[in-house]
Symmetry: C2
Subunit: 327 residues, 2 copies
């Protein structure tokens, strides 16, 4: 446990190398590492919860990296420490991604007050999401004031990020054909703030048209209980124009949910969601990894899909095989 004490002290002192190592420990799939990681997490838990957790999503090509690079410079210029995490269940395990992330955020890469963590390595979404949640806690324990969590904008990761952040930003593009640019169903409705990126040069007029179209579309949805209407903003991550306003709106939103008690609810929901999904995942994992059970599971699923068996029968057979054997 001397190692844990040492790592804990260094993380709490804000040492970025120790923070990186701690996140690697958390992401490890070895049983002994998981035990150590859980021990570390429980020891730093009282030092967590103090950052503003911001989720950012948008389809590939929308310019998320450049946006985060520019927004990150602004945040750190205000004396705040910024951590950038990425969640990408689809990415293969690759050490090259560290270089990739640092290259695509060139300004932040050399910034003392910014910590950039590459995409968590591949695996199922539940596991990756859980690792990201743990990483947020570690960043908070290390004194980071703002934690940005970037999603790849494909698949189910947006929902996972929405469930672990206080503010959710959706980046979009304007331009020819972009009405069909592939915004996923339901994602627009999850956003607290919508940002039309690349509003520069010839694209400014298009961006303003898109802003109005999205504003109109948003009116078709039910108002939020808190009264917040997600604003639609435009910005250029290259010139920086409009990015300050995005940051202003993020803070407006953060202040409003802090004042009206919504933040407290959001954080409780985050924890409940996290506990429930972890429990459910661990239990199902327990069952699905059970070697004696596996051939039974596969066979029963096939029979259900073929229409030879009702799900009730299948579930009953699974429960009998599992709990009956253990009971």
């Amino acid at each position: 446990m001397a190692d844990i004490d040492n790592m804990k002290k260094k993380v709490l002192s804000g040492d970025p190398v120790a923070l990186g190592k701690a996140i690697t420990l958390i992401e490890s799939k070895k049983d002994e590492d998981r035990l150590t990681a859980n021990q570390l997490l429980s020891e730093i838990l009282s030092q967590t919860g103090n950052s503003l957790r911001i989720g950012i999503t948008g389809v590939p090509g929308v310019g998320k990296s450049t946006f985060i690079d520019t927004l990150g410079e602004l945040i750190t210029s205000q004396g705040k420490k910024l951590a950038v995490l990425a969640i990408d269940p689809s990415s293969p395990q690759s050490k090259g991604s560290i270089l990739g992330d640092k290259t695509r955020m060139s300004k932040l890469a050399g910034n003392q007050n910014a910590f950039i963590r590459p995409s968590a390595s591949g695996g199922n979404l539940g596991g990756v999401a859980s690792n990201t949640m743990d990483s947020i806690l570690l960043c908070e324990a290390a004194g980071y004031d703002v934690v940005l969590i970037e999603t790849v904008g494909v698949g189910q990761s947006e929902v996972a990020v929405k469930n672990m952040t206080d503010v959710f930003l959706l980046l979009m593009l304007a331009g020819a054909g972009d009405e069909l640019q592939g915004i996923k169903r339901g994602i627009m409705e999850m956003a607290d703030i919508l940002v039309i990126n690349k509003a520069d040069g010839d694209n400014i007029a298009n961006a303003n048209l898109a802003r109005k179209a999205y504003e109109n579309a948003l009116h078709l949805f039910s108002p939020r209980e808190t009264g917040w209407s997600p604003p639609v903003l435009t910005c250029s991550s290259i010139s920086g124009k409009g990015v300050e306003n995005v940051w202003y709106q993020v803070n407006e939103y953060a202040e409003s949910i802090s004042k009206n008690g919504e933040l407290k609810n959001i954080r409780e929901e985050q924890k409940k969601h996290w506990l429930e999904s972890m429990l459910s995942a661990e239990v199902m994992d327990h069952i699905q990894k059970d070697k004696q059970l596996q051939p039974i599971l596969t066979k029963l699923e096939k029979e259900v899909l073929k229409g030879n068996l009702t799900p009730q029968q299948a579930v009953q057979d699974i429960l009998n095989a599992f709990f009956g054997r253990q009971g």
Copy 2:
């Protein structure tokens, strides 16, 4: 088992009284009834899958009952047998709802070719959804060609219905202030066909404006892989104008997914989803109902919400308490 044989024969012969009794059996929470119900289901399983399963949602007041009443008359007038089921996890257990449902669909109530089943009684959504899925199978075994599943339009039931139907219809209203009529986030994106109801009298112009607004809003979402663009239609359930076109579009959609193989995928996904959610629910039920475990669960959740415990620790404690004891 003589009872089951008898019930099975009557259900397969299309006897609506036996069908009603069979559904009641399925909804029973008694262990022995559940055993009988599961036996019945597995015996009729080979006779299922032949209906068109249509989900219908919309906020309260949108006129779902009148719409179903009118659409149902049209469907049965074409020589088809129609079953109408409702899913409402929020409704209290009440025998009065049978009268309620028959009153609010006055035309169908006296129709020999229509079977109306009142809202499944209260309980958790998982249980109600599972009962509804089983009821669909029973209706199919009884020879019903079309099964309409109505949701109450609040809560999470839309997702459940979407996951058990082939075609999903969203009913909406036009009129003053209706842009804020409270369409739930994400529901619009799930719809295969959107219908603006009450397009009659002074409301026709408004309905047409709303149709265009929704068409524009839909363009902001990503196109479907199958190429289907959900149409926005208008109709009057009172005059019947436009209802025939809704039915035409439903059949167009049904035909398209049948031809392109999507229906096969949808049905397999329905079964997989049904099996997984039932297994997960039964296992969690097993755990949450465990009397020795309950005080532990409550205590651990509190500690997690207070920030005294990480979810990892809590889950580990729960698994140890549960599997450790049984293992």
